[in-house]
Amino acid sequence: MPTRRARIPVTKYPAERFTLDNGLRVVLTPDRSAPVIGVAVVYDVGIRSEPEGRTGFAHLFEHLMFQGSENLEKLAHFRHVQGAGGTFNGSTHLDYTDYFETLPSNALERALFLEADRMRGPRLTEENLRNQVDVVKEEIRVNVLNRPYGGFPWLTLPPVMFDTFPNAHDGYGSFVDLESATVADAADFFRRYYASGNAVLAVSGDIDVAEATELIGRHFGDVPARPAPERPDFTEPDLTVERRTAYTDKLAPLPAVASAWRVPDPVVDFAGYLPFVVLAEVLTDGDASRLVERLVLRDRTVTSVGGYLGFMGDPFDVRDPTALLLQAHLPPGGDVDKVLRTVDEELDRLATDGLTDGELGRTQARMATHLLRDTDPVLTRALRMAVLEQQRGEPGLLNELPRLVGEVTEEQVRAAAATLRAERRASVEVIPGGAR
């Protein structure tokens, strides 16, 4: 008798959409259960769009968007958000860059003012640029250069898998490129990509839709209309021959390996893509998952293994080309070849023998919890909806994800596993160079 499945609950977050005359798309998702709001502005430009010779520029530019704008001095943005009881940040992804605040709801108009002001134009000065190049270099030192496994695998695997600059290059950037950046580059980048027609504004939480709509019109309505630039074609052919590289990390004490396989286009072929999202969890979510049970608990050939979609762990906010990734850390003297062989064996077993009774249902129930938990903060709701609007014109998809994940069938998961063959795989191995 098959195991009874947990019913997957649904959320009913509203998604009010409209577009201003200047092309700015807006999504409102009210929720009055707590007196807080999330405000997100997402621009359709990311690491893949930065010019050659300017690696890291999209991220550097993100920093410059906090350095003052038309009516705001340097430091003013931070002070106005935090002085309203809120927090802020921004982040640069492969396909988009986001800017966001979460605040008590009495600061709605202030947050809209701040975002509109920098959408009209940041203050790009030589002094601020040099200061933020220094800050970004320290960020790279903290996250990559001064620690073991820095940039593994999100910076070290793309150049193995991809051949073209947009997909393969280091999105944090080289120090040489960062130092070569100019104010003119920044002005050009802003003109090209930070257009009202290339942005989405999302506001979530304790708002009244009519009032928020009026305030958005007031603050963003006169942002000059500029159209979205044409999005380049970033496609690359799939691999037909296995690729594998290794590098020594002089700070790492233990070996590690990561592999990636291309997956269907997440936007154009969402139905074909979803089974891979589920597959990653069947393989690696917790002690009852395939690879944890086999590699960690039984064979003890790895100390940890993880699987996810997208180089930045972003299953629903990345465009093609993207990948399913597996990464594992090995014990001292661990054998990477053996680990990869066992992964192949487990994928083959999954594709051939299918799933066990209840295996898919419990994985999907757990995924529902993760998806719901992710959207509990009003801010993530705004961010996710903004990107879903930008990439798919469908912010309400956020409500559907737990159910859609739950509808993926065993046959689809098996078929997805069957595509993860060694000849389509790109792998990168970390050779420990640590003194220990």
Partner: protein
């Protein structure tokens, strides 16, 4: 969409009226076995968060770490894989963590799975069996994890700082050495579990789309059979900070230095706490602070400096932390000392205080606005003998702290003369500049 077009510079819109802090609906019950259960309603998503805090002071370091690593590795009737699979069925998961104050089990599941998650929690609490094979596997994994941690500068700096602050107190060493972990046997874990994993003084927090009374009933049904009259162990009070030479921990080849400055602090309930929190914000506790604006936004020495009052059961401490470029390590310390000294010696400006106050009050609201945030806050409070009602009291204290109160707190707690400073970095390159500012004592990374 039409728009009004203002001319000239645009003015910052004012804030709307401040919303008063509103506490969520909650209920509390102490079960016959001594377990306290607190249930809080927040219904935004159909989930429930779980936090179980068990006092664990003075536990053997390596055995405690291994107990947390293997608590979910199986019971008399279930393997680790079965446990994980049963939890998954209700969208659930549990994980265990330990620090010198407590053993913590945390998790979340679909709200429809609350009963089942509690049953499985009870299964683990009353029946964890520490099977030999699993213990062996987890021992190796923990040793590997410690090795990786010991290659991280942030971990090494933290380790050195704790030792320097706490001396012989149990807080001084929080990560066991690999050889200590290798010596832990399953029998020792079963004994430790029998002695210390019991309901007296433990607090279970459930937060989510639940009716609080109904959640208490569910907890009582599942957990009233959890017994065991083990002992509790009170931690001695943390020792006061003893300022001395800057401790420079040599990590040759570092491209950054990890700067850590510890200062005295007081517990949440102390009359000075609200003023200290505000003083810390003005100094370095948020982005719009003097320290961050100085060493990041003006000088570009660092990416993410931050300063935080850390509360533990046996005492509180303020820690300012920054990873700074090797070549500016001396200057970064100079600016840090300057900003501390400036605030300790001169009162903050009224608008600086107002900005910090609004941040403190606003982020209280933000912290309560998610199930996970509310669960962690409720649990941290309860582990220190407080309830959510304290939030309102704390908010009132934040609201009325004056410039004088904050200046006084800064003079008392932020004075650089009282600081204990540790720097982890390439000693050969940074020692001369540091020694020009303060006496320096160098030690190798593995002392």
């Amino acid at each position: 969409m039409t728009a009004t077009v203002p001319t000239g510079p645009r003015a910052l819109p004012p804030l709307g009226p401040h919303r008063k802090l509103k506490l969520p609906r909650q209920a509390e019950r102490t079960l016959g076995n001594g377990l306290t259960v607190i249930a809080v309603r927040r219904s935004a998503v159909p989930l429930v968060e779980l936090r179980l805090w068990m006092p664990f002071g003075r536990a053997h370091l390596a055995r405690g770490a291994m107990l947390a690593q293997t608590l979910l590795s199986g019971t008399e009737t279930m393997s680790s894989v079965q446990l994980a699979a049963e939890l998954q069925k209700v969208g659930g998961g549990l994980s265990a963590g330990i620090d010198p104050d407590r053993l913590m089990l945390s998790g979340a599941s679909l709200v429809t799975g609350l009963d089942r998650m509690l049953e499985l929690l009870a299964e683990v609490l009353t029946g964890a069996s520490y099977p030999t094979g699993e213990v062996t596997t987890e021992r190796d994994r923990l040793v590997d994890r410690i090795q990786v941690a010991q290659s991280q500068p942030a971990h090494l700096a933290r380790t050195a700082l704790l030792k320097r602050i706490y001396g012989r107190h149990p807080y001084a060493v929080q990560t066991p050495e690999p050889e200590q972990v290798r010596a832990v046997r399953p029998g020792a874990l079963r004994s430790l579990h029998a002695q210390r994993v019991h309901p007296a003084d433990a607090v279970l927090v459930l937060v989510g789309d639940v009716q609080p009374e109904r959640a208490l009933d569910a907890a009582e049904k599942a957990l009233s059979g959890w017994n065991g009259a083990g002992h509790t162990a009170d931690l001695p009070p943390a020792p006061p900070l003893e300022p001395g030479p800057l401790l420079l921990v040599d990590r040759p080849g570092s491209v950054q230095s990890s700067l850590r400055v510890a200062l005295p602090a007081v517990p949440r309930t102390h009359p000075d706490h609200a003023a200290l929190q505000l003083a810390n914000l003005v100094f370095g506790g948020y982005f719009s602070s003097r320290w961050v604006e100085n060493i990041r936004e003006d000088k570009g020495y660092t990416y993410g400096p931050h300063s935080l009052v850390e509360h533990s059961v046996a005492g509180s401490v303020l820690v300012a932390a920054a990873e700074v470029a090797t070549e500016v390590t001396g200057p970064a310390l100079l600016e840090t000392t300057y900003e501390l000294g400036r605030l300790a010696a001169l009162p903050p400006k009224p608008d600086e205080l107002e900005q910090a106050r609004r941040y403190a009050l606003g982020t209280l609201q933000l912290g309560m606005a998610t199930q996970a945030g509310l669960a962690s806050l409720t649990s941290a409070y309860a582990g220190n003998g407080l309830r959510l009602e304290f939030l309102a009291e704390h908010a009132a204290r934040l609201a009325k702290a004056t410039v004088d109160d904050v200046a006084e707190a800064a003079a008392r707690y932020l004075a650089p003369a009282r600081a204990v400073t540790v720097v982890l970095g390439d000693a050969e390159r940074v020692a001369p500049a540091l020694a020009a500012l303060t006496p320096v004592e160098v030690q190798p990374v593995k002392a």
